[in-house]
Assembly symmetry: D2
Homo-oligomer: 338 residues x 4
């Protein structure tokens, strides 16, 4: 028996779980259907339990619960937005720890994607939280045929014959854990617990970190996107069901306030609130803290360095909270502190 | 005599100026010094006149007027922020036209860059317009040696021995024209007339378009940046003097409301106001209009397409107004209307 | 048996519950203690049941659970913020109805009030959701002796000998119902369900309306304020336990989206979100709708009229969401439609 | 000869000008017409010169230059928004001083007021700076007959027969000085120099203070409002020409950053920027500074006191910048420091 880092995990802290040397990770399979999905990030009984190091092989329904299938179908046919697969209980995860979820594989689980204009959503039309004395755009649905051979979705204009292929870059629009303080939040909400972050960073090769708020953390997945523009401005991406494989681990005794992403090249922080100005402040202050604590640069040196090489990715400006990811490439950082 | 497009100009409208066939563009040279710079975007007598198609070969001082040269120098030695080279009068440009400025070449005009924390600036500290009952960070200055051979600037931490090389990607932090309505705006302001946009898009290979508000448009250049992080969060980039070559042209009778960028691959719109939420709304509604008008997609099809492939680049969140650039790659667009 | 309006209730809709003619309203007494309070607006078993027309006579603990009693006590002694009395199940209230709560009496239930600077709160210091690279102000606690004879609280400066009397105007900082969509929200959150609105409008003589999201509505009360400045900028009011009497009724089949207030003189709407710009848009669009639907003015006439006589009361800018109340005096309105 | 305070002036600093004892103030008369108004707050030759203590008796055109007179008139008939009377040069006012303007009298200078919905303006419709993919409301004009006997304006609905009287409370929508840094700002802009603040506080009995940015300060007046709702949400108030009398004085060597108001009962600070969150931060931090410096309370005691008795008045959310006034009644303050 030997302690080692979960293979390939790029962690900002000390991963303390032990795995049997040489043993392949255990794989837990779970099949989501419209009958077992959830519509809240909350503390409810888990659908399965994982041990640190385990791989979860599962699927997610699209944000409409796969209810929109053909022209003529309408949003009124949807049972609920963003049905969630889970929750999954991760053994050993306790409040004050950090949950790490490495995304190993993601595949579009179907042959078409859906885009829709829905009342109350959208970055540049009147919405529920930015209401105006002006008519909302009409409900509209676009169908995107998926070509698995070329790994593309095809945009087809509704008002003309124009069409164009878009490369697939699938990610989980929803990935998160049970919120703190016993809150239960709808599956369209992004916040400190992750949730509906609509972060393209939630894709293969990246690890996402969450604060653990309840025993077992309670991981949820959903809202697959095959491709998405920055801001997700019309309110939806190319919405698809997904099949995915993720590997979970727990960083004991390491507390974070907001979700983080990491891969071999970069560290990334999430700011998920309103307005965008505050998202940016959250993401960048979190990034300063991370660099200061783990890489040893002073706070003001970090501030200056980020002013020259920091990157910002606007994820979405349409959900109840907006989401921004700030990042820095590791090549610009000192060696990480032990 | 024959009418043709200015060589290499990628324009969203019809360029109507005529140039002598085969003649090389006229080059106008102008040397900026601390004694002839301006500190306002305003209607004042021009320093030189250009004809459409002319190339301007000039230089800009850094945002401190080149006053900070060595450790121990302080911001109190600065005569004014963002000294501007210009204005340049472009023959034939009338209110209601669009000025196109293609950036042909940019070189860092010196051997070091400067970064600084200055009172009242910064995205994640109290500022003049987001004041707090909390102390501002102290004034600090970082010096970045420039290595022209490797095309890098070197960040050197003040509080540790860490240093790291940053690739140079020079651009004009200030590029703009005289404002509408006879306004005169300080050289730290970005708005409809361009100005202190701090857009890395103002770099070689890109054309920037401005609304013409006064006869001759009155082009100003300044505030060279050798490199900059998204948001320019500490309030400065790697600040440098520049040498640059730009080619001007005029699109007659084509009115735009906000600056735009274009290159062979993409069209880009600017939203320059406060808060970021409104910057995004400006940039994306402008992009919808541009695509709808010039490429013929319906507004709602455009909205949906941008929700899948639109890109957002946060330029800065530290000036009196913030700046966001929204863009789409041309490969996703229909053929441009004639 | 006869149908009539609940005595004194000023309702925007049709109150349909029937009460025995001439019978005095039933009074339900309930005593809150630190052992039976809640910390969430959520669907949990009620502590008591009320019929429409019933009067609830109860008490609330202060926002600190009455834990801060004397100099030297610290915020670390608090079990949870904003302990809530309730929930109370109102018979006959179904999703899609409106709950009306008329506030009949409010008395400060003690001899002192508390004000505190707490980490992460405050309109003009760095906070959890507007973080800055700047130190937060230190924890500080102010004690306000209450003089029931003169109906005043006394502010006593900590850093000088200055003191001044402030008139008492008690109100419920927390008043709300179970949220929609099975959400559970912490007791510091204001939103569509009401909650921690910190609205001085929640005081004697006013009726507050809530959307009913679950059977029985589930009314919660708490966070008594003896007095509060607009914005509640340091993060607390003069925090006190309260004794209060409220009368509940149900408006069947009338759906509202956000809380509303009403008294003999005015109608008032709540916008509770972020940033303030959106709070204002919510409150004023709701007010336009209310006037248009119930008083028959066209939407644009209403818009113009509000531009001349509308009133805005900033309630608070310190909670996770901010709260604004927009209002119009009834004397400026047409006669209400039957 | 004796030094004394200008009669009735309530100043936050030391008024140092001397006036001949017992002599009545000098009155300067100036008549504004459409031919001598200005459309910028800027440094231009003054139309008249005043000495400290002088009274200015003048008039202002309405925000449409008095061009809208009868049904059928349209906004296209307007020469420019907010024509300004002035500028007036105040002798002895130098950069770094404060200009005090006491408003002695204001009368509606005509028999009707105008309200209008104009493209690009409005708090709850799409605008130039909060653009949406949604149609703007149509241009509409409301006429308000003024009854000088009852001191009321009458709102008359366009879409029904409803009308209602509104009490007149006239104020200058525009009052300001030449901006700092040689900027010239359009007459619809409120900012540090005052300008189009649309502050009902700019009314009889109040003194308004401005930072002096240029020799003579250069005072401008305009945009009379007979009545206005909080937020001025449709983009206009009851717009009227005014006749007014103001008395000017200069507080030497006292520098302020933003406009302030004062009367016998209260001190008030202005935050004029975007978004409202930042307006509030500006106004309240200015108020904390004022109280701390002039009344001697510590900053944190002031913060706490304002959290209990501070008042916020949203002036407008429709101009290029928004305006909030924060205030405290003097009865809650210590005695002013000498």
């Amino acid at each position: 028996m030997k302690t080692y880092l979960v293979a390939g995990l790029v962690a900002f802290g000390v991963v303390t779980q032990t795995l049997a040397q040489g043993a392949p990770p255990n794989v837990v399979n779970y099949q989501a259907t419209i009958n077992n999905v959830k519509y809240l990030f909350a503390s409810v009984p888990p659908v399965a339990r994982l041990k640190p190091g385990d791989i979860l092989d599962t699927n997610t329904l699209d944000c409409f619960g796969n209810a929109i299938q053909k022209p003529g179908d309408t949003l009124s046919m949807i049972k609920g937005d963003n049905p969630l697969t889970g929750p999954f209980y991760i053994e050993g995860a306790e409040p004050g720890d950090t949950l790490a979820v490495k995304i190993l594989d993601l595949q579009v689980d179907g042959d078409q994607g859906i885009g829709a204009l829905a009342p109350g959503f959208g970055a540049i039309n009147p919405t529920s939280y930015t209401p105006m004395l002006a008519p909302a755009p009409p409900e509209k649905i676009w169908f995107y045929p998926i070509d698995h051979a070329t790994n593309t979705a095809t945009f087809q204009a509704l008002d003309s014959k124009f069409s164009v292929k878009i490369p697939l870059r699938p990610f989980f629009g929803c990935i998160g854990v049970a919120p703190a303080g016993s809150e239960a939040r709808g599956s369209i909400v992004p916040a400190e617990f992750g949730g509906n972050m609509d972060s393209p960073e939630a894709s293969v090769g990246n690890t996402v970190y969450f604060p653990v708020n309840v025993p077992g953390a309670l991981l949820y997945l959903g809202d697959g996107h095959a491709a998405m523009g920055d801001g997700e401005i019309a309110g939806t991406a190319v919405e698809v069901p997904l099949r995915g494989r993720v590997q979970v681990s727990v960083i004991k005794g390491q507390k974070i306030n907001w979700p983080r992403f990491e891969n071999d090249d970069a560290i990334m922080t999430v700011g998920a609130y309103r307005p965008l100005d505050d998202c940016l402040r959250i993401a960048y202050t979190e990034l300063v803290s991370w660099i200061h604590q783990d890489y040893g640069l002073s706070e003001l040196d970090t501030y200056e360095l980020l002013s020259e090489v920091g990157r910002v990715h606007l994820n979405e400006m349409v959900d109840p909270n907006y989401v921004v990811v700030a990042s820095i490439q590791k090549k610009y950082l000192p060696e990480k502190k032990k």
